[in-house]
C-alpha cells in the first residue's frame, strides 16, 4: 500500500501526519475530527484502487479537495488554498486517477512542508474541446526551482485522451496548465 519514494503519490508522511493531526483534533473539535477521518478514509479507499479503475474529473476533484483539506489541517496558516471550478467535470471520464497524483507530486516536489508560506490555486475550466486544469503555487521566501516531470502521471492518458502540458516558472511561483480533450 505504501511507497517509500518521497515523490510517491501515496506518501506515508502524509498518511501518518494526517492521522496524528486528526487524533489531536478529536480533543479539540469532535465534529471536525469525524469529518476529517471520513475524508482520509475516502481518500485511502480511492488510493487503494489507484490506477485500476476508470474515474471522472468530478471524482478526482472531490478527492483533491479532501486531500488538500487534510494538508491544510496540518500546515494551517502556512498554506492558503483556493479552489475554483471543482464542481464541474462529472461527464468527463479518465482512464484512472491522474489529477490527484499531479497535485500530490506538486506539493512534494516543491516541498511545501519546508516552506513558511505557500499559496496554492487550483482552477478547473471547461473549454471547447474539453477541460483546462491549472495549478499555481507561490512560495515565500523562495520557490524550489525546476519544472516537474509528470510523465509517470500522464502516461496512462497516452492514446486515450489527448492532452497538452505547459509549465511556467518565476522566482516565486510555479504554474502548470493541463489541457485535456474529452474522452
Amino acid at each position: 500500500m505504501f511507497n517509500k519514494q518521497p515523490d510517491s503519490a501515496l506518501n506515508p508522511h502524509f498518511i501518518f501526519n494526517s492521522m496524528n493531526a486528526i487524533r489531536y483534533t478529536i480533543f479539540e473539535d469532535q465534529e471536525k475530527a469525524s469529518e476529517l477521518l471520513s475524508e482520509l478514509a475516502h481518500l485511502l479507499r480511492y488510493k487503494l484502487s489507484d490506477g485500476k479503475i476508470a474515474t471522472s474529473i468530478a471524482e478526482e476533484l472531490s478527492h483533491i479537495t479532501q486531500y488538500l483539506s487534510l494538508e491544510k489541517l496540518r500546515l494551517e496558516e502556512r498554506i492558503n488554498i483556493t479552489l475554483k471550478g471543482t464542481e464541474i467535470g462529472n461527464d468527463f471520464k479518465l482512464p484512472c486517477s491522474i489529477l490527484l497524483p499531479i497535485v500530490e507530486k506538486l506539493l512534494h516536489e516543491k516541498d511545501v512542508y519546508s516552506v513558511f508560506e505557500n499559496t496554492l490555486s487550483l482552477v478547473c475550466t471547461k473549454i471547447d474541446s474539453g477541460l483546462l486544469f491549472s495549478l499555481c503555487l507561490e512560495q515565500s521566501p523562495k520557490l524550489k526551482q525546476g519544472n516537474i516531470n509528470f510523465s509517470n502521471e500522464l502516461t496512462p492518458l497516452d492514446g486515450i485522451v489527448k492532452y497538452q502540458l505547459n509549465q511556467e516558472l518565476t522566482p516565486n511561483s510555479y504554474k502548470m496548465e493541463l489541457k485535456l480533450d474529452k474522452l
Binding site: N20, R74, L75, E76
Partner: protein, 241 residues
C-alpha cells in the same frame, strides 16, 4: 521523583498539542517551552537548557537532523516523526530514541523511563568524587580539603556555609549549583536550605512537621522536609536492595 524539563520542536501546532496531551499524563515531565522550527528551537534550548527535546525532522528552514548535529551531546534528543525513513540517520546522531507519529502512549512511557535512567546515570557520573580537592578559607587560613570532609552545605543568601572537621567556612555559590555538582550517592538535598552528607547522619527521628530530623556526626540537627524525607526513605530502601 525528579522533574524532567523538555522542549517540543515541531512545525505543526496539532502535532505539538498532541504530544503535550500525551506528556501531560506523566507528572514528572515539565514542558518548559515549544518551538516551531529548528532556528527557534536552537535559541530556546540555549536559553532553557532542557533535559531533553522531542524533535520533528521535516520542518521549514533547517531540518531536525541538522539541529541535532549542531547540538551534539548537549541535550537528550527523542526524534518524533511520521515515518521511519530517517531512523538510521537519527541514531547515527546519537539520538536517545525515535518515536513515530501517531505516538503510541506505551512506547512514549518506555522512552521516558529510558530518559529518566539516562539522566540519573549522567547525574551520578558528573558528581564530583569524594577525594576532589577544595581550597577553603577558614578565617585567615586557607586549607585544602577533600570534598568528603564536608558534612553539610547550608544556604545563606547567595552563599553557602560548609561544615567540616576544621570548622565552618563559606563558598561563593548557591545551593542549587553545588547540588548539581555533587554525587547523589553521598549527598542529599534535605530541604531548600540544606544539603547533607549521607554517611554523616548518625540518627533520624520523626519531626513534628511530618518530615524527619537528622542528627549529624558534628552534633547538629537538620530538618529534612516532608517531601524530601519521602524521597530519602525511597532512596535508602532502593540502596538496600
Amino acid at each position: 521523583m525528579t522533574t524532567i524539563k523538555v522542549i517540543i520542536v515541531d512545525d505543526e501546532r496539532l502535532a505539538r498539542n498532541e504530544l503535550k496531551r500525551l506528556l501531560s499524563k506523566h507528572t514528572n515531565i515539565e514542558i518548559i517551552d515549544e518551538a516551531k522550527n529548528a532556528d527557534e528551537a536552537a535559541i530556546k534550548i540555549k536559553e532553557h537548557t532542557p533535559d531533553a527535546i522531542f524533535l520533528d525532522i521535516h520542518m521549514p528552514g533547517s531540518t531536525g537532523l541538522e539541529l541535532a548535529e549542531s547540538l551534539g551531546d548537549d541535550v537528550n534528543i527523542i526524534f518524533c516523526t511520521a515515518y521511519d525513513q530517517f531512523a538510521v540517520d537519527a541514531f547515527s546522531l546519537n539520538a536517545m530514541d525515535y518515536l513515530v507519529k501517531p505516538v503510541n502512549p506505551q512506547r512514549l512511557a518506555e522512552s521516558l523511563i529510558k530518559l529518566e535512567t539516562r539522566l540519573e546515570q549522567a547525574k551520578k557520573q558528573t558528581g564530583l568524587p569524594d577525594d576532589h580537592k577544595l581550597m577553603v578559607k577558614y578565617g585567615e587560613t586557607m586549607r585544602i580539603i577533600p570534598l568528603s570532609d564536608i558534612i553539610r552545605f547550608e544556604s545563606i543568601g547567595n552563599h553557602a556555609a560548609i561544615y567540616t572537621p576544621h570548622g565552618k567556612a563559606f563558598l561563593h555559590s548557591s545551593l542549587n549549583k553545588i547540588e548539581a555538582k555533587l554525587d547523589t550517592n553521598h549527598y542529599f538535598r534535605a530541604s531548600r536550605s540544606d544539603i547533607i552528607r549521607l554517611d554523616a547522619i548518625e540518627s533520624m527521628e520523626q519531626a513534628i512537621s511530618y518530615g524527619l530530623e537528622a542528627k549529624l556526626t558534628n552534633g547538629q540537627t537538620i530538618e529534612i522536609s516532608r517531601r524530601q524525607a519521602t524521597k530519602l526513605k525511597q532512596l535508602l530502601e532502593f540502596t538496600q536492595l
